[in-house]
Symmetry: C2
Subunit: 298 residues, 2 copies
């Protein structure tokens, strides 16, 4: 039987797993994201111990180079994360473990996981948004993961920001008050002086933050026309936040687009991941599965 490895290579931790799907996870390990050498070293050690596997899927924080014809395929590129810009990830792991590697963004992996086993089953055009330390977005369009020129980077859209009402300048090192700069966990901590998890129940906080999140999702709706928006990440664990965001999205759309899911079904249209926090690592396993199928000509 074919066995897969999955790595969700996140900016704060790497989730590793060996298995074939949500009901068959044989080993897992959570590795803190420290230096590239240490993080990749511990990841390789996990698969040496728990393997062998037939292929490994990696869903990585980014931006990444996932162009198979590029000399820097499998690298993290212009990330602002200290020590990680221009890091060789996939080729290094492939060299050390001698297995085929499928490589994509963490959010495309999560989208794939939700499509294979979660709340996006049966859909062909939808997106996965994560609101954690940063904000990322992945998407499937017409049944294929979206890449295009590079890959989606939802977090760096510009959204309206009323400086009079909220003078916070934004937390993005590239763009200041882009979507991520206003609505990510990092932005929330910088704006309010405490991490999101310590701000539970503060209506002022969550009304403002839900407004920014809804503005970003409306842009995604207008560009991608997703059949569903799956929204995960640590910030979305805040009680009540999802329903605030849903209400704001409906309000901002203001009846434009004759689409029942937005008009009447917003509770299912903008929804949490079915796989919870495992969407990324399970999606990475699905990436590996697809790579093996394709190389076998199945």
């Amino acid at each position: 039987m074919t066995l897969y490895g999955g790595i969700e290579a996140g900016g704060s931790k790497w989730e590793c797993a060996v298995g074939t799907g949500p009901d068959d996870v044989r080993a897992t390990e959570t590795i803190p994201t420290t230096t590239p050498a240490e993080t990749i070293g511990r990841t390789v050690a996990f698969f040496e111990r728990e393997g062998p596997v037939d292929a490994i899927g990696i869903g990585s924080f980014g931006p990444v180079d996932r162009d198979p014809s590029s000399p820097t395929w499998g690298h993290i590129t212009t990330t602002p994360k200290p020590g990680w810009a221009h890091t060789d990830v996939a080729p290094e792991i492939r060299r050390r473990l001698s297995v085929p590697i499928a490589f994509d963004t963490d959010v495309n992996a999560s989208a794939l996981g939700e499509h294979r086993w979660g709340v996006a089953r049966g859909l062909d055009t939808f997106c996965y948004v994560t609101v954690g330390t940063g904000i990322g977005g992945g998407a499937m369009v017409g049944g294929q993961l979206l890449h295009g020129l590079v890959h989606p980077e939802f977090g760096h859209m510009r959204i309206p920001h009323d400086h009079a009402a909220d003078p916070f300048p934004g937390a993005c090192v590239y763009h200041g008050d882009c979507f991520e700069g206003l609505a990510s966990g990092r932005a929330i901590e910088a704006r309010w002086g405490r991490p999101a998890v310590e701000l539970e129940g503060d209506d002022e906080v969550w009304e403002l933050q839900a407004g920014y999140l809804a503005l970003g999702l409306v842009c995604v709706i207008c560009v991608l026309s997703p059949q569903r928006i799956v929204i995960g990440g640590g910030v979305m664990k805040q009680p009540g936040l999802l329903s605030l965001v849903q209400r704001r999205v409906t309000g901002l759309m203001n009846g434009y687009l004759d689409a029942a899911p937005i008009r009447e079904g917003i509770g299912e249209y903008v929804t949490l991941p079915g796989l919870g926090t495992r969407a990324g690592v399970l999606g990475a396993i699905a990436l590996a599965e697809i790579a093996v199928s394709e190389s076998a000509g199945v």
Copy 2:
């Protein structure tokens, strides 16, 4: 030989053509968009006179219903254009001319035209933006026109708007200062008191308008990751506007994404349509061509 009809059904005029491509257009007519009955009547008369054709493609202003399983397939839906909300377009033309009809948005038709014969040849993920009376966007992703839940509606994204610098409230009846509400031809005329064409050479106008256009394009880049942005429509005929927009896009991206086309090749990355104002009607012919190929099992 198979002969196609194309209709670019726009909000101010309908462009009709009979032919097989840009080098073989046998008849054309431009019909002003008045009432649905009169406009459709004149369109039907054109094809009765210049036909018969084997299939007609229609690229229509929207929003439209292009779900083939819907009872209102081929209708324009919630458009704010007086007299045109919930108008039966494609089924009515099919009934009166008894030919197969392919139906999509005007901007998806234009995207298809540019892919078949214009500046998007060989690309599989790109978008077409029109900046005319309104703003619309169509896209191809992975070689297929993007539809999703409904279809893209780039014009209704929310973009940053500094009310202190520009107190204009926006011109969109649904959303006020959305992308279209700030950057369309209608918005320009409302904001500056004269139509765009009469504002040539006024730097203050075009610096502001280019800024809004660039903000919208940056959102599209972050969501869709297009390999190229084709931008047409009457407003883009303004001399110098394209290069202002290009410069603003590069500035807003600020080096994020390690993508040479944005960093160094913006002049080719954000570009005018290769087919000029014929992109829509030729794309409609390409829609008809695809419909005939598919029904023939080719």
